[in-house]
Amino acid sequence: MTVLRNRFVRRVAETAGILFGVAVLVFVMLRAIPGDQITAGLGTEAAALTPAQRQALEQYYGLDQPLVTQFFSWLGNMFTGNFGYSARSQQSVLELTMNALPVTFELAVLSIVLALLIGVPLGMLAASRPNSVRDAAGQAVSLAGLSIPAFLLATTLLSVFAASFGFNPNGQGFATLLEDPLLNLRQMLLPALVLGFGIAAPILRTTRTAVLEVRSDDFVRTARAKGVPERRLQVRHVLGNALVPIVTMTGLQFGYLLGGAVVVEQIFSVPGIGRQVLLGIQQKEYAVVQSTVLVIALAFVLVNLVTDLLYRVIDPRVGAS
């Protein structure tokens, strides 16, 4: 148990170190942009500022402080919940993030569920008869998932559904799950389908490989000899043991999901965290970008940590050595 706890503590410390590095990188990146908050906010009018005005603004934004001080005051503020302020939306970035995060979280969960529903059965089907027609079909689906850009699929689905079936729930204002669950799910359907299709491909491939490997194991033959029904054999014995690589792969896809969310949320007007970053970039609201990117990296790193700990639960052999 102490081994496990030490391991946990070490992983958490490592995660904290990574996040500090991420914070440094994000800070340096945004400072590398020519100009500062003042020129970004005022545009060309910034040139008309008198030196005294400029100095006052610099003092206001803390730009007269050394970079190291600026960095630590930003980081310290993040810890106390002060993520900065978005002048355009007249809201604090914390407030924006608290509204956007659950939306993206819901989208991510739905996408993963859809991806597993597509990827795992198709992967098992492909593995049930390697090098057959159904295997080739599975491979073709996964190749399509890997090769069709999310933005192309999203654009096409949006126009086809809107024009041919008059289905365009994303055309009206966004409803959260609590406000109007039915409308919300209709609005999430296409975005989740696009993202889910993208990550179904690697899940399908992983399932196929893992199932093929487990299938030829001795214990499967023994179970079959004992007369375990085929369905139970496939689900409990084969899939159960193929689960570790599938869970790992699903966890790894979370990064793709968060990146893809930027594109898909933008196209379907879903007010999630990805759209918040993109809007921040487009409107040059660096306070928004800086804090939001850090929040996303935090989410990503935490998911990786959870995945890592989760497969120790699924497979007790992991980490025992």
Partner: protein, 272 residues
């Protein structure tokens, strides 16, 4: 490669697209991809305009061809940069271990903490935008993948007899790394290059779709698809042509990567 039909299919698709890209580099396209000609707006596909024309009367075939050229250029430069930097990083980390390994590992972990597209997006948004900086933004995302893919095999190679023998004959570390270790990990790197190219094309297309890629009027497959969104029903060819071509390009690279992996028998595949 001959034993892998998928790989062969990939090569054929890529060869076709390469011809198109070369035509665009050589300036041999039927029309100037950026020249506007309002009288011939929204012409359907015909002998004169193979893929029709867009809302400014520009020839869609020429624009798609130039877009393929641009995408290929950016993807190749980005992956070349990532391969060189990442492989060197992985070699040094795996071979020297100790402090170098710790430092390189730290940078790798930090870069891996970003969702890939988000990192490229943030970098592209802060850099002055032209084809080269886009390539750099994409390259940074793929450097850690190459580091991770090479470091592991290097760690085990350095314990193998012939490497130890080379150490005992007094060759310098760099000589050993480049002459004895690197040749033994080339198949892993080659497969990773093919797969990374397909992701680089996707990333570039996504960036330009979001308006953070090569600035207009330079044609790019992503921005063409973005512009075609509202024209789907007036001129569907403006969406179909770049859409089909971008998918073909990525399919070709994925098939090539799968074929190479099967032929060279490389099992591990880096995460995206």
């Amino acid at each position: 490669m001959r034993r892998s039909p998928a790989g062969v299919a990939g090569v054929v698709i890529l060869a076709l697209l390469a011809v198109v890209a070369v035509l665009s580099y050589a300036g041999l396209l039927p029309y100037d991809p950026v020249a506007q000609h309002p009288p011939s707006r929204f012409l359907g596909p015909s002998g004169a305009h193979l893929f029709g024309t867009d809302q400014f009367g520009r020839d869609v075939f020429s624009r798609v061809a130039a877009g393929v050229g641009n995408s290929a250029l950016i993807a190749v430069v980005a992956v070349a940069f990532a391969t060189v930097v990442g492989t060197l990083g992985g070699l040094v980390a795996g071979f020297y271990r100790g402090v170098a390994d710790g430092a390189i590992g730290g940078v790798t972990n930090v870069l891996f903490a970003f969702p890939p597209l988000l990192l490229a997006l943030s970098l592209a948004s802060v850099l002055e935008r032209n084809w080269f900086t886009i390539a750099v933004a994409i390259a940074v995302v793929y450097v850690p993948i190459f580091i991770r893919v090479t470091r592991g095999p290097v760690l085990s190679l350095r314990e193998i007899e012939y490497v130890k023998a080379a150490v005992s004959t007094g060759q310098s570390r760099w000589q050993i790394m480049l002459r004895h270790v690197l040749p033994n990990i080339t198949s892993i790197i080659v497969v990773q290059v093919a797969l990374s190219l397909s992701w680089a094309v996707l990333t570039e297309a996504s960036l330009s779709f979001l308006g953070l890629g090569t600035p207009p009027p330079a044609p790019s497959l992503g921005s063409m698809i973005f512009e075609a969104r509202s024209l789907v029903f007036v001129a569907p060819w403006t969406l179909i042509a770049p859409g089909v071509v971008v998918v073909l390009l990525v399919v070709g690279l994925n098939l090539l990567g799968d074929g190479l992996r099967d032929t060279l028998d490389v099992r591990n595949r880096g995460d995206r």
